[in-house]
Symmetry: C2
Subunit: 322 residues, 2 copies
């Protein structure tokens, strides 16, 4: 086998109906379907070379050698599929402003899935790529596609994968991200959602309400009803953060400035600007809006937090080789 | 009937297992049992005179004439019990530092129940007083008693009342209150809990988890296990605030400085100080601790927020005539 290098680029995504809780830790099967928007501004580029000269897998992230246990475990899945037994060199670069705290395992494992499968000689279709990326990080299965994407929870490894949803014409969704804290999370999303599934008395109701939210937001997309779309996304995010507050021990990703930003968004909304917030497993606030309102929203947040903390992103493309 | 004036004093209470949701709006029957600590520092004094010369009920609060519709409705219950048809003058004074935002309908209706029932010629025992106070504001039924108090939800007007729990020796619970915002609430507790009962998908699980929390905190009181006591109170409060975030439309009493204070308490705890927070239907943070730790907790909060924002209260007495 030739030691050919393949390089892939995959974009991060922001969940509008959240993935929060696994029913299978090993296969990464989620408890509920989720829905996301792939973003143009933030992405990971990853090169993979399987090389018989290597004694061990080698993983360089943003120029530094990293502990690659998780990456090696992922490569094992690829090697098994390709029926090879060769170590690989993985070079990965996150293209996210260094202080953004928006780096994501979603873009990382989507890029790795595409580059590694190609380098291993596999030709996976998108569904298979999505299933593979899922094994690295659940939300990575959504970053295989661009635009609006749904992750079907499925019942096993075969049936749990993402697929794209049609983006309506003139539905110019944009995201204004506020970087509240670029530090590492107090509790990883993996550990946080595990604790919630195991201890929150509200969790069974979450699974039901997320299914309802998903159905309704898809209807809002079809109807190009941005207000309903945004309202469902905001409420779904709050219900996810409510789960964390109800866990044992309880935890909370919201920082003082997260609340301040949420209040600013609510005030803008009262003033007639269509904007809604969502937060993932961290304190950064992502404002969902239409392209026409980006300027006023980014300006208002910049006034309070500084321009360098405010980043704008639109819908991004599918993972691709470069 | 002589126009005799009776004056009663009743103290506010802070719920450690929250009352959040009614099963009967008119009778104010709660969905779950709750548990509170009556506080020595904050109280209401209320004088009531039934006077045949009056054409209408008259209500003076802190020296100003107030719209007394709610008070008159409450007096109607007293008049019906006493079988009289005389208007009353009610003069009420809140003894809460004016910027505290800690004034409460609990102390108000407990004092009114005691003063009005006496002035109307009734001799109610404490259980009957508690039932009467409940009709004005649910949590007022707890302020009839001092120290630790449980409100038994009951199934009807007769069976829904509070009673005192034994306070163990050397269990010196104290509260350090941080005034985050003295303004009126964005959404009243009455409206907030109603919305939660009607719309939160998590509400049925709350009712169950509150019952479990109550059982466990009572056991911790008997065992004088302050750490378990505080932990249950804090988690119960977070589960109550999580309900608000899951309502439709969602709402949140937490302000940026609430989160900041909660983080300070968590940090103190990591440093070995036994302290736990709770928040009612507002942004003010109440820290539950032992008397021995008041100085370090009040000092740390004062450093961040200013001494005038920090108030200390211990267990308070039952409602009484003065």
């Amino acid at each position: 086998m030739n030691a050919t290098t393949y390089t892939a680029r995959a974009h991060t995504n922001i969940a509008l109906i959240k993935y929060w809780g696994k029913k299978d830790e090993e296969l990464i099967l989620p408890m509920n379907n989720s829905l996301s928007l792939t973003l143009d501004r933030f992405y990971t580029e990853t090169s993979v070379t399987f090389d018989e000269q290597l004694k061990d897998d080698l993983f360089l992230l943003d120029g530094s050698r990293e502990n690659g246990n998780k990456v090696s475990k992922f490569l094992d899945i690829v090697r098994k599929k390709a029926e090879i037994n060769i170590k690989a060199k993985v070079i990965s670069q996150n293209h996210v402003p260094s202080t953004a705290g928006l780096a994501s395992s979603a873009s990382a494992y989507a890029a790795l899935a595409l580059a590694a499968s190609k380098a291993a000689g596999l030709s996976l279709d998108k569904k298979e790529l999505s299933r593979l990326a899922r094994r690295g990080s659940g939300s990575a299965c959504r970053s295989i596609y661009g635009g609006l994407v749904e992750w079907q929870k499925g019942t096993d490894d075969q049936t749990s994968f993402a697929y794209p949803l049609e983006m309506p014409n003139n539905f110019e969704i944009t995201m204004v991200a506020l970087v509240v804290n670029a530090d590492y999370k107090k509790i990883s999303s993996r550990a946080g959602m595990k604790r919630v599934v195991e201890t929150s008395p509200y969790y069974p109701a979450w699974v039901q309400t997320a299914a309802k939210d998903l159905k309704n937001i898809k209807q809002a997309i079809v109807e190009r009803d941005f207000e309903t779309f945004g309202e469902i996304a905001e409420e779904n995010a709050m219900k996810m953060h409510a789960l964390n507050m109800s866990a044992h021990p309880h935890f909370n990703y919201l920082e003082p400035n997260s609340i301040k930003a949420m209040q600013i968004v609510e005030k803008l909304r009262l003033e007639g600007v269509s904007c809604y917030y969502t937060l993932d497993a961290g304190p950064n606030v992502k404002v969902i809006c239409l392209k026409r309102d980006v300027k006023v929203i980014a300006g208002t947040l910049s006034d309070s937090f500084g321009q360098e903390k405010v980043l704008v992103a639109g819908p991004g493309p599918a993972a691709h080789l470069i």
